[in-house]
């Protein structure tokens, strides 16, 4: 009897825990008689990337709130999923797969916003592809997810689409453009010899490879491209090696959680005048700001990084977005990814709305997304090509302000990229 009671007690505790966990991950909204469609985002909400993903989710919620949780005749139920774990401090393959499986099993799911990291999308795309769920990433840039361009791995991108039908799109320009923008920035900054380090993830190693492939277009010499072990306590030997190679600039291709701050500090100590460059994986205050665990303030004048976002105020509707963001969250200068969050949700809402009664059909939403050609948006007018890549071709170059925050410097539109 005592045993039975104990088991019943345990079951009750487990049920309560399950109930708590499911409710805590839910974003909220009410349903209406017109029907409900389920939208999901899957992003790393813990660790260093949260400096980018929290504003991104804020942007998503802002767009949803402006639409009063409605997309045409449907009420949108939005759920925030976290593809990171506290222990990893960044995206986790198991958690990403679990998120994708959860959405794949939801019959009302019509729109999946994610992932933030290209490596994570390598995990979720095949799962969602088999379920026919339309997936739009607000941040992925790795070329191999959608193309077989130089810089992708053998078998890409077909291996991510087991059904043979594309289900994945993205609203940020791919890394062949970002790498070219980085090379342009380095050339303009007077770099003669660049040492590149990558974090060995899909995004980092892909971006580093593209830098090497495109260096000739922009007359930049890359002295080395090294895959680092992010768990290494320090990178001083590496830094002394690249100093010996005469590097006057350093490019980190990777995300903040993967040793970006430590390697930058060590390179700065070995080559104090070296200019430091990075992609969107590090263009956030968790890397650029000393007060937020980033690099020391002495490095601020030396850092430049690229993000797809350009001058927020100069975008069509950018000022309205900034005003609305400030009104809702009290922040006047949000992270560059906030506007991508806003747009990725707007895209989903508009697509469902335009489909009228068909808005709750996954296949109809998918077809409509790929059919988008000249969408006027807060990012400017854009569409998608047959691979699901945006037609936007510019990157923003950011410097670091005296407060450690990335500050938009100028727009870079590369003319030459690998084909």
């Amino acid at each position: 009897m005592r045993r039975t009671t104990a088991i019943a007690g345990l079951a009750a505790v487990a049920l309560a825990a399950a109930a708590c966990s499911s409710s805590s991950s839910s974003g909220t909204t009410s349903t209406s008689s017109g029907g409900t469609v389920d939208f999901y985002s899957s992003l790393p909400m813990q660790g260093a990337s949260s400096a980018q993903t929290v504003p991104l989710v804020n942007g998503i919620k802002l767009a949803l709130a402006e639409a009063h949780n409605k997309a045409g005749q449907f009420t949108v139920k939005y759920t925030v999923l976290d593809d990171s774990t506290a222990a990893a401090g960044k995206w986790d393959p198991g958690q990403t797969a679990a998120n994708a499986r959860q959405v794949a099993s939801d019959s009302k799911a019509v729109y999946y916003m994610g992932e933030f990291n290209s490596g994570a999308s390598e995990v979720s795309i095949p799962i969602l592809n088999q379920a026919g769920i339309p997936q739009v990433s607000p941040a992925n840039t790795y070329v191999g997810l959608t193309t077989s361009l130089p810089g992708s791995a053998p078998g890409e991108p077909q291996k991510y689409y087991p059904t043979g039908t594309r289900t994945y799109l993205r609203i940020v320009p791919i890394d062949s453009i970002q790498a070219a923008a980085g090379l342009m920035a380095m050339k303009q900054a007077g770099c003669t010899k660049v040492a590149v380090a990558n974090d060995k993830e899909a995004y980092g190693s892909g971006l580093a490879t593209l830098l090497e492939l495109e260096k000739g277009f922009y007359g930049v010499t890359i002295t080395s491209n090294t895959g680092i072990d992010p768990t290494t306590p320090n990178f001083r030997s590496y830094a002394s090696t690249i100093a010996g190679q005469g590097a006057d600039c350093f490019y980190f291709a990777g995300i903040v959680s993967n040793g970006a701050v430590q390697i930058t500090k060590d390179v700065h100590s070995a080559i104090p005048k070296a200019k430091v460059f990075g992609g969107d994986g590090v263009c956030t205050d968790s890397y650029t700001s000393a007060t937020k665990g980033g690099v020391p303030a002495a490095l601020y004048p030396l850092i430049q990084c690229t993000v797809a976002t350009q001058d927020l105020a100069a975008y069509p509707g950018g000022k309205a977005f900034l005003a609305a963001y400030k009104a809702k969250y009290g922040v006047s200068n949000p992270d560059p990814y906030a506007i991508y969050g806003f747009e990725v949700m707007k895209l989903g809402l508009d697509t469902v709305k335009n489909l009228a009664a068909q808005g709750n059909s996954k296949s109809a939403v998918l077809h409509a997304l790929f059919a988008t050609t000249a969408r006027p948006s807060v990012l400017g007018t854009y569409g998608f090509d047959k691979n699901g890549d945006t037609t936007l071709k510019s990157y923003g170059l950011y410097k670091v302000g005296s407060n450690g925050e990335p500050v938009f410097f100028k727009t870079l539109t590369p003319t030459q990229t690998v084909k």
Binding site: A86, G89, S237, G246
Partner: protein, 357 residues
């Protein structure tokens, strides 16, 4: 009794092969630097090559200072294994707690980049003392809660509780400072060159690592060899039953061992935070693995062996990092461990455990 020729050859290879294996990398790169030179920078667009041993010297200086930190941690492993034959998996995490406590104390004491030299010296010495007390006490607590009740249990039982405590401490660190590596202030300008020896820049960090490690190791060696409590530790390590019959309080002696190991881990934690200017809840796992490897390499249970193992691993890491690329470092370190174990299964200076006699 005539020695079998094959055994003689094996003994010969064991002795000289080990020396050859240890010297292989430094000799190879030394000769390479002298003959082919190494790129030392660029002048007017042209690569400048130097033909000397200063690059190798730099690798050694950097490796030895890194190794000094591993040595401090390795001593904790070796002391505990020597006395109760347990791999204390939580030891690396005690070291991590040492780093976290240090960084928090800097905040409490107001130590920053603008603190005066006097204030910094006093503050860091105070931090060292507090951290050693905290981590030493923590290690004693772990022993009391997770190991002592299992003294007569099968050996697997305390091994599992050690793994359990390792995870508990990792989670404490995770809750304390989050999941990502955190940058901490470079209080002592750790990479600033103090002086140069034969073209090798000696940085503040190198001096710090040795300034903490050498006195502590000497103090520990003196304590173990010269004091009554130290003799009790040695007696307990050799035969706990006989030690008990001789009137030694074995439990108290084992607690003392954990206290000393924990204190050294705390000191290593402070040096690590100052040296790396970067702390992470997971740092103890990797550091623990390296330090345990150092302890095994030097001869488990042997304090001098742990120090030697730590220093050797530090140098191997620096050479591999600098010459082959960081992606090869772990493979090279563990390749060396395998070679040393094959050539000398009891480690470089021999085990000092009950099994070894």
């Amino acid at each position: 009794v005539p020695v079998h020729p094959l055994r003689a050859v094996r003994r010969y290879v064991g002795r000289w092969g080990l020396i050859a294996a240890l010297a292989a990398l430094p000799i190879y790169y030394g000769v390479h630097d002298l003959v082919y030179g190494y790129q030392a920078g660029y002048v007017a667009g042209h690569a400048v090559y130097r033909h000397d041993l200063s690059q190798l010297g730099y690798n050694f200086a950097q490796g030895l200072s890194n190794g000094a930190i591993w040595a401090l941690i390795a001593i904790g492993y070796t002391l505990v294994y020597g006395i109760i034959e347990l791999i204390n998996f939580a030891h690396g995490d005690v070291f991590m707690i040492g780093s976290f406590t240090s960084a928090s104390l800097w905040g409490v004491l107001g130590l920053g980049l603008t603190t005066s030299v006097l204030g910094l010296t006093g503050g860091l010495l105070l931090t060292l003392v507090i951290v050693m007390v905290v981590t030493g006490s923590l290690n004693v607590l772990i022993e009391r809660v997770a190991y002592r009740p299992l003294r007569n249990a099968p050996k697997l039982a305390p091994l599992i509780t050690a793994v359990g405590f390792s995870f508990i401490l990792q989670n404490v660190g995770l809750i304390w400072r989050g999941g990502s590596p955190q940058s901490v202030p470079d209080l002592i300008h750790v990479q600033q060159t103090v002086f140069t020896i034969a073209g090798v820049p000696i940085q503040r960090g190198y001096i710090l690592a040795f300034a903490v490690m050498v006195p502590l190791v000497f103090a520990l060696t003196w304590f173990i060899n010269r004091t009554r409590a130290g003799r009790a530790m040695r007696a307990t390590a050799q035969d706990p039953e006989a030690a008990r019959l001789m009137g030694i309080n074995v439990n108290a002696t084992i607690s003392l061992t954990f206290l000393l190991g924990g204190m050294l881990a705390g000191a290593a934690g402070l040096v690590y935070a100052l040296y790396e200017t970067n702390i992470w809840f997971f740092q103890g796992f990797k550091a623990g693995l390296i330090a345990f490897t150092a302890a095994v390499m030097g001869g488990i249970g042997n304090v001098r062996g742990a120090v030697l193992g730590g220093l050797i691993i530090g140098v191997i890491q620096a050479l591999a990092d600098s010459r082959m690329g960081p992606q090869w470092t772990e493979a090279v370190v563990f390749g060396y461990l395998i070679a040393i174990m094959v050539l000398r299964p009891r480690g470089l200076l021999g085990e000092e455990t009950r099994e070894a006699g």
